[in-house]
Structure formats: C-alpha cells, structure tokens
C-alpha cells in the first residue's frame, strides 16, 4: 500500500513525528540517569556487644550488624557478591571477599556506609581467594589465600591512600602444592607461631592427599621444620583428608583440626570416604593424635563437617549425612563431644538433627550460635550448659556464613 498526503499533512506529520521522536530520545536519555543516592553514614550506635555476620543468598552477600542487647539487626554494610567471610582485630571488622572477589575490606564497626579501605589481595596473581586473616598485632597480619601458594603479610593499619604499604611480605607454601595451590584454608596463632592449615586438594578439588599444617615463626616469618612431615615436607602431616577448620584451645594448649574425608563424594578418590576426624596437635612438640575418628564406611557417625571447641570438656561437631537430592541443602546434625576424652555424646542436640547447619560460634555471653541457611536463615542459640535451644531464633536477612563479635566502646566517630 502506498499513501499520498496533501503537502499540509506531510508537513504536519513530519513535525509531529520529529517532535515525538526527538522528545522521546531526549526524555529517555534524561530519564535513565540514576539518582544514586549514597547510603547515609551510620555512626551513632550505642556501646555494647555486636555481632557482625557475613551473609549470602540470592546471588549477593553482605555484612549484617546485630546488637546483642536485643539481638536485632541495626545495620548492613555495602552489598557485594556471595563468597564472603569475616575477621576482626577487635576494633574493626574485615570483610574477606573470597572466590571471584579477592578483596579485603576494612570497616569501622560504627559506620556501615563506607569502608576504611578496600584492597585487592591478588597482587600479580588472579583468584587468590582469601580465606582468613590472622592478626599478630596492630601492624601485622597474615592473609591466608586459598588459591595461591603464598600467604600475604600485611599491615592492616594503613589508610586508604597507603595501599603501597599494605602488603609487606609473603610466606611461601609452594612445597605443599598438589595442584595449583596447597589450598590453605585457615590458621591459628599460638605462642609466636603461625599454624597454617592446608587441604592439599588436587587440581580437580579431589582430596587425594592428606592435609598438612605448616608452621611459621611470626617474628622471622621463616618456616619451622617440625619433623612431622613426610617426603621432606617441613610441616605436620595430618592423617585426615580435606581438613576444614583449625582452632586453638588455650586451656588444653592444643590445636584441633577437623578432617572431612571425601565428604563431597569426589569420584577421583577411591577407597573408604571416611578418612576424616578430629586431630589434635601439640603446638610445642608438634605431636599429632586422633581425638575422634569419623569411622569407616561400614560404621560411622556421618562425615565430620566442622567442629568448635568451647572448653576442655565441651566441643560441638557438625556431622553430615549427605545433601538433599532436590535442593542440594546439606543434611547435618549437631552433636557435642568431650575434647579431652574424645567421647561423642550419645544424643545429638535436640532440634538440630538432619537439618542444614552452616557454622558454629560462641558469643560473649557464652551462648552457642548455630548458623542455619535456607529459606528462613539465621541462628539458633544454644545454652551450652543444657544443650538446649534458648530464646528466639535470630533471623538474618541472608544466610549466615561467618560471625565475629566485637565490643563497641562509646562512639566518638565524626560524621
């Protein structure tokens, strides 16, 4: 079809059309400019105990701040991606951006609006994947980097303009490498020595080698030959596979390491998947002993996922029986045990059987915080004297990944 218009109509149509489109073009351009109003500074929180929870869910992650006075959320830090952890030096909180983030972000406990600094911990590498920060003093800390053969030594006290002086050195773990990196996943500081836990998974993330603990002198940053390694390695050879966490209990002067075995059923590993357990390490002699074995494929109490030692007579253990076939949620049970005798309690903690448990922490008031992921995430609070859930469930916005507790003094921060 072809149309013929009168000249007047043509002119009119052209005007209308031009006005329409030019107006629309301008309008669209103008309308799209965001008014990205910054989050107002939040510098007026009351003194007291606070929990800072690294959380993730729905493709995002953030640190959420909770007052322990009433267990309510009273602030969130800028959102980022999902793989987060958190550490504290006692006065600030440090957001550890792990896989695909590779950052360390220092935040003031009272100001949720902006960081003190945010630095990459990749250096010349990529996918450094920091897992933990261990503070030696105000000006020295170690960044445990899961995706690298090097642990970074940093000065956490630098300001945002002084990134050049942030990284002060490295510890070399390359001798433990079993496929790209020794997969250092945690560390503890004991008497001037840094004990670094390494999973030593292979390139396909299969637990084909036993875990190791490397020991460094924090004064000289030299590695100590413990005499407990094999194949000439200076560190301490564990007897378990795929260790998940390391903890020091001063009351018993012991280090505890939880080995998970082949918990994820990696088919590259053959044989009995139950090659985990809780091992103890003497921080002076480096002697190692199996405190609590996870058993065998024929007889076991499920895989050991993670443990928390509360006192010489009380520890908690998350055991894992598998993963939900539809939702992939882990199926966990919380049990208590005696860290001195290694005896597992006959009964699991009531209410925390065959459910998903993300992590364990002890709050300043002595309550055990049991992190629960899922559709209604948060913490169950356990009275460690009775092993009973007490109080109300502390709901978080996103699923809890890690927690630190900080005592916030009287606030004097400036706006």
């Amino acid at each position: 079809m072809t149309l013929k218009f009168s000249p007047a109509t043509r002119n009119g149509l052209n005007r209308i059309s031009c006005l329409l489109v030019v107006g629309t073009l301008s309008l669209l351009s103008a309308c799209s400019s965001s008014d990205d109003s910054a989050t107002p500074a939040d510098t007026n929180i009351a003194a007291g105990h606070y929990a800072f929870v690294a959380t993730a869910g729905g493709g995002a992650g953030q640190i959420e701040r909770y007052s322990l006075a009433d267990n309510t959320q009273n602030g969130t830090y800028p959102a980022t991606m999902t793989d987060l952890s958190i550490a504290t030096d006692g006065t600030h909180v440090y957001e550890i951006g792990r896989f695909n983030l590779d950052t360390l972000t220092k935040y003031d406990v009272s100001d949720t609006s902006a960081p003190v600094y945010q630095f990459s911990v990749n250096g010349d590498e990529t996918q450094a994947n920091p897992y933990d920060v261990i503070f030696v003093n105000d000006t020295k800390a170690y960044v445990i980097r899961y995706g690298s053969t090097q642990v970074w030594i940093i000065d956490p006290s630098v300001d945002a303009l002084d990134e050049a002086n942030f990284r002060t050195g490295e510890l070399d773990l390359s001798v433990y490498d079993t496929g790209g990196a020794p997969k250092a996943s945690g560390a503890v500081l004991v008497g001037g020595k840094l004990f670094i836990l390494m999973q030593r998974l292979d390139a396909g993330f299969a637990p084909s080698s036993v875990g190791y603990v490397a020991v460094f002198d924090t004064t000289t940053d030299e590695q100590i030959n413990t005499g407990k390694g094999t194949d000439g390695l200076p560190g301490i050879a564990l007897s378990t596979l795929n260790p998940s966490n390391i903890q020091y209990l001063e009351a018993r002067d012991e280090i505890y390491v939880t080995g998970r075995g082949n918990i994820f059923g990696n088919p590259a590993v053959t044989g009995d998947p139950y090659q985990g357990g809780i091992e103890t390490i003497d921080p002076t002699s480096y002697d190692i002993a199996m405190l609590l074995d996870d058993g065998t494929e024929a007889e076991n109490n499920d895989f050991f996922s993670s443990a928390l030692i509360v006192s010489p007579s009380l520890g908690y253990l998350i055991t894992n029986s598998g993963f939900d076939a539809t939702t992939f949620a882990s199926i966990d049970t919380l049990r208590s045990f005696n860290p001195t005798t290694g005896i597992l309690a006959a009964e699991p903690v009531a209410g925390l059987v065959d459910t998903s448990i993300a992590n364990l922490h002890v709050a300043p008031d002595g309550l055990l915080w049991v992190g629960v992921p899922g559709d209604a995430p948060g913490f169950n609070l356990i009275d460690t004297s009775t092993n009973m859930i007490v109080g109300e469930f502390l709901a978080t916005t996103l699923a809890p990944l890690d927690v630190v507790f900080v005592d916030v003094p009287e606030i004097t921060a400036e706006q």
């Binding site: 079809m1 072809t2 351009s29 995002a60 990529t126 996918q127 590259a268």
Partner: protein
C-alpha cells in the same frame, strides 16, 4: 520510581497527542493509491492473518546492519531485552517478557533450534547475512511453530531468491580490530532457486574499560584497561536451493554452517588467561510443501541440527579447576504441518517428532562424562475460526507433548529412562472493530522439560539436578492495535504470566552453580509500540516496555523481589531520514531498574546507549557508518562482564 512515572506519562502523552493530531489532520486528506508488495507465502510459513498473538517483524533496513548483533536488533522491540557478555561475537541471548533465554524458543525456518543439549541459543552465532526476516512472537506462538515457549518465540527466515538475480559483497571494519567480509548470491534459474552466502567476522574485542581491580569501593586502584582474551573469529555459510514442481508444490533444501572461536575473559580481566570456547553448528533442513490435495495443504520438513562445543580451560583461567570439556549435541527429526482451509476457518495440525542427543565429556575430569537421548513428540491442533463477517477470529488450540529420555553413564532418580507427557491448551481472539482498530486477547499454557545440562551438569561450573521438574507457565495478554494507515501503527498490550517450578541456577559460596526448581514468578507488564513512516523520507519508531517481574519464593530474602537481569523499564526510539542518496538515523536505548541478583542488593547501572549512523547510496554501492554508544557508557549486562564503549563501524556493500 519518579523517572519511571515520568517516562511513562510523557511517552503516553506524546503518543496519544501524536495519535490525536494525526487523526485530526489526516482524516480528510489521506488517499490510498497503491498496493503493497505481498511476500511469497508457502504452506508451513506462519500465517499471520490467522494469528491472534503479538508479533513484530524486524525492519529489513535494520537487518542490513552489521555493527550490532542479532540480539541487539531483537531488543529494540517492545517486550524484548538482550544480554551479551562482551563485544561482537560474545554470547548473546534475549528474554521476552522476563522469561530467560532457555524459555525463549528460536526457530530457523520454523524448526526449533533449542534442544535438550543446547537449551539457550547464542544469538551471536547466527549470522545476520543469512537472515531475510525475523519475526518475534511475544507470549503466544503461532501454530506453525508448534508449541512455542513460555516467553515466546523468534523465527528466523533464511534468505530466499528473488525474481531478479543479485550478488552482494560486503566489506567492513571498525573499532577493536573488527573485520567483516560477506558475500551472497541469490538467483532463479528456471524452476530452481539458488541462494549462497558466506560470512567471516574477526574482532579482537580489546575495547577499553575502567577496571575496578575487584574493589568497587576503592577508586584509587582503578585502571583503564583493554579487555583481555575476548577475541572472536566466526565463519558462516548458507546454501539453500529450492525447486518449484508446479504452482502447488516446491521443495527446499537448506544447509547452514556456523563456527566460532571465542576467548573467555576472566572476571578480573587477567591478562594471562587463555580460556576458550569454540562452537561448530550446522543445520540441514529439507522441506517439501504441497497444496491442494483435496482441501488440504501440507508441508513436511526433515531436519538435522548438529552443535559441537569445546570449552578449554586447562590452565584454570576462569575456572576453579582444570577443564577440557566437549559437548556434542544432535537433534534430528521430522515436522509435518497440514491444514484444511474451510469457509469459516482453517483447521491446522503441526506434528513434530525429534530425537535429541547429547554426549558430554571432560578430558580432565572424565568421571563426569555422560550421554543422553531424548525422543520428543509434539502435536498442536488449532482451529482458526472466523465469524461470518470475517471481523472476529478465534483460535482454540491444544498441544500435546511427550518426552522419553534414555541415560547412559548417569541416572535420573535412579532410573535410566524418564517419560513425561503434558497437554496444554491455548486460545486467542482477534476482533476488528473497524478498518483501523482491532482488539486481541490470548491465554495459553506452556511448559519446558529440563535441559540435559540442568539435569546432569555442565563443564564443572554447573552441577546438575536429576530431580528437576519441568517449568510451566500460563501467559495471558490483551491488546489493542491501531493502524490508521499502512505506514502508521500503534500497538498497546498488557500481559501477565504466572510461572512455576522455574529452573534457576543458585551458586554456593565457592561459585559452583546448582540447578533447582527455585519457585514461582509472576510477571505483569505493558508494551507500547509506535511506528510511522512518511512518504518523504522520515521514519520513526518508539517502543516502551514496563514490567513488574516478581520472584515469589519461600526464601524471605528473595520473595517479592524483581527477577534478576530484567529491567523494569526498557525503551527504544529511533528516527531516520532518507533523502536522495543519504539516510541518517539516530537511536537511543534505555534500560532502568534492574538487578544482577535475586536478593536485589546489587543494582545494575542504568543503560543509556545512543547510536547514530549515516548510509550513503551511490550507484550499486551502499556505504554505512555507524557510531554506537556515542556516550561511551560501559554497560554490564552480566555483572563483571563489560560491553564495549564507543565504537565506529564502516561497511561498504556492493550490489550486482
């Protein structure tokens, strides 16, 4: 929100005002004096006069563009949004009405390209040169395409020969070391039609962008960098021949080959990363159409689509673990469309039987290897009924789908086979109130069987879930079309969609994805489209989509949030003016209010792209200059994957 309201209000006012002004000014003066050239229609092609849903055909001038990808062109239309991971040749997909790319069916000459082995079609791998026209169906899909999908359908029609033989050679180049060479020939020799086309694209895609060094809260360490490892090399070939036996029957043979080698950039833009993704796709389709066997017309197509891919990341450039993964997919089968045209309407039946196969293997992690087969039957019957005046069209339809899977090396719910059957009804109505105004309404159910990678995993980055249920959805829309003259069209559509058992990928804390039936989504929206073309060279197009796409989840952090990646407001406007040997155009594309994440904590920067261009026609040559993204606005459709900034592209086309 203020912006949204302002945009909506002002656009509505503009459109309404222009409509009224047009009406006042033209009722007495316009006369129709000519006739439009009708496209050749063969049985099996979509019969738009019997389709009650919403569709748009991409403007033929737009399809000559070589500075953008097919996905970009589709996203100019209302209700369609595109996403691309980088520059030309990088993975590109579209969503229609907030569906995802798996839920948007892409067809080549009426045969579906999506299959169990490749649920999402990479639109950048489809060469524009090989395409004569593109139709987009939103919500409802026409009978001839079969079942369609939850979002809708895109039908690419390959080049056909014309009465006059033509040969075309295109050479072009532009920013980021982009080079393009294309040649095509179309001719008719007696009863034979012959089409041949070849194309080659190379681009370094080394565009510059501001890299945050992974620290968005620290501007001091930002650097301006070139994108690393994003180069693409792509080749395409199309051969098509058809033979006209007589006026009632013809046979078509189509062969299309596309291969692409693509670098896979690392999220942190690491310069030592050399991960790559290579694809080889070929489609062969043989169609015989015959009319007039009694009252029946039929079209029978046999097809085989092969798609091979190789993801090589043995040096862990982008993956947590070494990967050297191969995926070979095949879908082959037959599709029969048959119709009986009666006095009151047309009874049509589309039946398709196909076998889809996927062999997935990894040379590093060989325990993840598997092979699966799926036999799928789809049958859709529809009656397009017209009332006696021909003003009312009603199209009730019923679709039956069945799948029979066989698994080798893996199981699903401990079984090596799986069978599922579904029946889904659809109905549409179109009422012509007068010669310029028509109303339409559609409602229908759709479902999608999980793809193989969703069931069994992919390249170690996605863990499969053998317990997935099919996605299902109900789409409904109601709309008005105002077309006072052939060169002016205004269309408004309100739509709603309710989707359950949506398959989404959730990521754990180490970045491994898990596919789950995450839940339920409800989408409402409004689409406005306005097109006008004057006789003295001006043409304009304005499209606006507003949608409220909500995730209804049991997870409190996600519930009632916007679906990730979907802009609540998307709009596009273009003005072009052609005079003598020149044509100039300007366009703007805006997307606002979207999030990267389901928790809606990571807002995406608003998109505001302006493009301008000039075409110069001289004898048998056309030279085109396009300047895209003149504001140099770096957009990230996927978080951490920037698209190019300002880019120049110059092409010359010689027509013989």
């Amino acid at each position: 929100m203020v912006n949204l309201v302002a945009t909506t209000s002002l656009l509505t006012i503009l459109l309404t005002a222009s409509t009224l002004l047009w009406a006042d000014e033209t009722l007495e003066t316009i006369t129709i004096t000519g006739s439009a050239e009708e496209a050749e229609v063969t049985t099996g092609n979509v019969e738009h006069s019997e389709f009650t849903g919403v569709f748009e055909s991409i403007d033929s001038e737009l399809l000559k563009r070589r500075d953008v990808a097919l996905g970009d062109l589709l996203a100019f239309e209302a209700g369609v949004q595109s996403r691309q991971t980088g520059g030309l040749g990088s993975f590109a997909s579209i969503s229609i009405r907030a569906s995802n790319s798996n839920q948007t069916a892409v067809y080549l000459d009426g045969v579906k390209l999506n299959n169990g082995g490749r649920a999402s079609i990479d639109l950048s791998a489809l060469e524009l040169l090989n395409v004569e026209s593109v139709d987009i169906y939103r919500g409802s899909s026409p009978l001839q395409l079969g079942h369609g999908s939850i979002g809708g359908a895109v039908n690419l029609k390959s080049l056909t020969a014309k009465d006059k033989a033509s040969t075309r050679v295109l050479i072009g180049g532009g920013s980021f070391s982009t080079q393009r060479l294309q040649a095509s020939h179309q001719s008719r020799i007696g009863r034979w039609d012959i089409v041949a086309a070849i194309g080659k694209l190379k681009s370094e895609n080394d565009f510059r962008f501001v890299d945050s060094n992974g620290t968005p809260l620290n501007l001091l360490d930002d650097t301006r960098q070139a994108r690393h490892n994003a180069a693409v090399a792509q080749n395409s070939t199309l051969l098509r021949t058809s033979y006209r036996w007589n006026t009632d029957s013809n046979t078509n043979l189509l062969f299309q080959l596309n291969n692409k080698d693509l670098g896979v950039p690392e999220w942190r833009n690491a310069d030592d990363n050399n991960a790559s993704f290579a694809t080889d796709d070929q489609q062969v389709q043989l169609t015989h159409s015959i009319n007039g066997i009694g009252d029946w017309n039929s079209s029978l197509t046999f097809f085989q689509h092969d798609g091979d891919s190789h993801f090589d990341d043995r040096e862990k450039g982008v993956s947590l673990a070494e990967r050297d993964s191969y995926s070979d997919s095949v879908s082959r089968g037959g599709k029969l469309y048959t119709e009986r045209v009666g006095k009151q309407g047309t009874l049509g039946l589309t039946t398709e039987l196909r076998r889809e196969e996927l062999a997935s293997r990894d040379e590093v992690l060989n325990f993840e290897n598997y092979a699966v087969e799926r036999d799928a039957l789809s049958a859709t019957v529809q009656y397009a009924w017209f009332n006696s005046s021909g003003k009312l069209l009603v199209t009730p339809a019923l679709n039956y789908q069945s799948v029979n899977d066989q698994y080798n090396g893996i199981t699903r719910r401990n079984e090596t086979t799986h069978t599922n059957r579904k029946i889904s009804p659809q109905i549409g109505a179109l009422l012509e109130l007068n010669s310029t105004l028509s109303l339409r309404a559609n409602i229908g159910q759709y479902y999608r069987e999980p793809a193989f990678y969703e069931l069994f995993g992919s390249r170690g980055l996605i863990r499969g879930n053998e317990n997935l249920n099919p996605e299902s959805g109900t789409n409904a829309d109601i709309g008005i079309s105002y077309k006072p003259q052939a060169n002016w069209k205004f269309d408004a559509t309100m739509f709603a969609s309710d989707r359950t058992d949506l398959i989404t990928t959730v990521y754990d804390t180490i970045g491994l994805g898990y596919t789950v039936n995450a839940g339920h989504a409800r989408v409402y929206g409004l689409e406005l489209a306005h097109q006008w073309q004057s006789t003295n060279g001006f043409s304009t197009e304005v499209n606006l989509s507003l949608q409220d796409a909500k995730n209804l989840s049991n997870n409190q952090a996600i519930n009632n949030n916007a679906l990730p990646g979907e802009a609540a407001v998307s709009s596009f406007a273009r003005i072009a003016y052609k005079r003598s040997r020149y044509r100039v155009w300007a366009e703007v594309e805006v997307k606002t209010d979207r999030f990267y994440d389901e928790a809606n904590l990571l807002p995406a920067k608003d998109t505001n792209l302006q493009n301008i261009g000039l075409d110069w026609y001289w004898r048998n040559a056309q030279t085109s200059l396009a300047i895209n993204n003149i504001g140099n606005d770096i957009v990230e459709d996927f978080n951490g994957f920037p698209r190019p900034g300002r880019a120049f592209f110059l092409t010359t086309t010689l027509n013989f």
